[in-house]
Amino acid sequence: MDILNPAFWTFVALIAGIYVIFSLGLYVQFSLAGLPNFGHVAFMAVAAYTMAILVVRYSVSLQVAAALGVAAAVCLGLVLGIPSLRLRADYLAIATVAGGEIVRYLAMNLPGLTGGPLGSIGLLGPGNIASYNQEWQGLLDRLTAALSIPLGRSATRDLAMALLVWALAGTLLVVFWRLERSPWGRVLKAIREDETAATAVGKNVFAFKMQALVLGAVLGALAGLLLAWQIGVFSPDDYQPTLTFYAYLILILGGMNRLWAIPVGAAAFSLLYSGTRFMDFFPLSLINSGSRAFLRLFLVGLLLVLFMALRPEGLLGNRRELLLEK
């Protein structure tokens, strides 16, 4: 594949779209409500696993399984939030870091339920190859066929998926843009800035924070379902804590408190993420391609540090607001 191939750009767009939804969840929690969630990936994992288990083991239909996947992520949000949201923000940070890792370790170590280290492919036990994806692939095939009427041979499955993902991402961006500007968003902002002030003027801080946490969980779950359907097979290793930091990178790249900067950050991230495979020029060509994949992680870290040091307001942020003291 070369850099001029449209298939590459379709893939970049698709991954960017999924990460828009994923990061939007973190935006609601962290940028709007000031809730530091360092285990966002857990919502992805719980939704994907719930969906896959229900489809493979219990032959539940795709829609129902997906809805229950989101519901499971909501439950995880409640479990993390109920004990920690009344306390200082640090406690939620600790709870979410731990929660994210607990989910991944459970997935790894409960092979009877989750397929263990093999992941979704092992859901039916050793010797059987399980797949949760037929119904979704059928749906994509029909969509691709419909697209090929106007587009001919350039209509691919990835293109169909990218359009679907972006339709959802766009809708969600509009919905949350409106919510951010609503009185509801105003209360969240006040809570982020000064919880005591919000309480003193009669706002139930706990309830608002819980709403933000749960909405973020729903968005994380949606991204998790889309990613699972896209990659077709997943294992606990696909839900490393790094994914949460990808979402933070996207928010920071775009501009921490700018909702419309999320697609920009996500596009930049996706390009970086998918583009590392083209870094085969000297001196990087001396490293084998497997190791080169790790450059991605190195670059993510480097960019985070550089942005924090040189441009903390991100690509589109507002520096003046950032410099105000609390």
Partner: protein, 264 residues
């Protein structure tokens, strides 16, 4: 308006407030004074629901509020203003005001998405009211400025204005004059008196400046070491021996407190 009966609060081994009882009459300006560490702010925290009393009862407007959450108490009309202004700095002055309004359906997720006209109508009412109050406290020209750019005194004014947005029956002011420039302090004092005279809001205030206390309040409650030691008119308080001993003990011969006599 407010009836406090035998409330106590312990922090570990320290009894900050011990069996404190007093009442604040509707429509009055009542001052709470006492040396540092007397437990005044703790009493405010207990009354406003930011702390739970270990014992005793608190009644406000005929209802028992000692088990209520702080936000419920505020919505019921007992609003507290902090000693160090608590102002969300990255919100504009106007947003700070709008935030405090009650009955905005748009604070509920579903309504803010699906009932935009109801939300907009209420937002219009709230905005008018907020601008009126901002004009009253002379902050209207700063409506769109970030609250973080205001001076300390302006923040106190904003917090007072914001408290008015909650439509309080009673307001708790914790050292409103502390750290405010003299010009603003006079303005603030005027506003506090207006609050009661024009709006009928009951004012309960912690204040250290004895001149201010004596000039604005009809009743003074004096605390020392977690207990109420005197309660009466400003004149009676000035002549009460226990008060003089505990609090005004270091009066200079000319009757004014010495520089070190009152706490800042």
């Amino acid at each position: 308006m407010l009836e406090v009966t035998a409330i106590s609060k312990r922090f570990g081994g320290l009894t900050a407030v011990s069996e404190v009882s007093f009442s604040v009459e509707a429509g009055s300006v009542t001052a709470l004074i006492g040396p540092n560490g007397a437990g005044k702010t703790t009493v405010f925290n207990l009354v406003s629901g930011f702390l739970r009393p270990d014992g005793g009862t608190i009644r406000f407007a005929g209802r028992s509020i000692d088990r209520w959450r702080a936000d419920t108490i505020a919505r019921a009309g007992l609003v507290r203003v902090f000693q160090a202004p608590r102002v969300p700095t990255r919100m504009s002055v106007l947003e700070n005001m709008l935030l405090a309004a009650k009955h905005q359906p748009g604070e509920r997720l579903a309504l803010s998405l699906f009932a935009p006209r109801r939300v907009a109508r209420r937002e219009g009412e709230i905005r008018r009211r907020a601008l009126e109050i901002l004009e009253l406290i002379h902050l209207q020209h700063l409506a769109d400025a970030y609250a973080g750019t205001l001076s300390g005194g302006q923040r106190k004014l904003l917090e007072l204005g914001r408290a008015l947005m909650v439509e309080p029956q009673m307001i708790l002011l914790d050292e409103p004059m502390a750290g405010v420039a003299p010009v603003l302090a006079l303005q603030l004092l005027d506003h506090i008196q207006q609050l009661r005279n024009r709006r009928g809001v009951t004012v309960f205030v912690i204040e250290h400046d004895m001149e201010v206390v004596m000039s604005i309040s009809e009743r003074v409650i004096v605390m020392d070491e977690g207990r109420v030691i005197a309660d009466g008119s400003p004149e009676a308080i000035q002549n009460d021996e226990r008060v003089i001993e505990a609090y005004l003990g270091r009066l200079a011969p000319d009757g004014k407190p010495e520089p070190g006599g009152t706490t800042p």
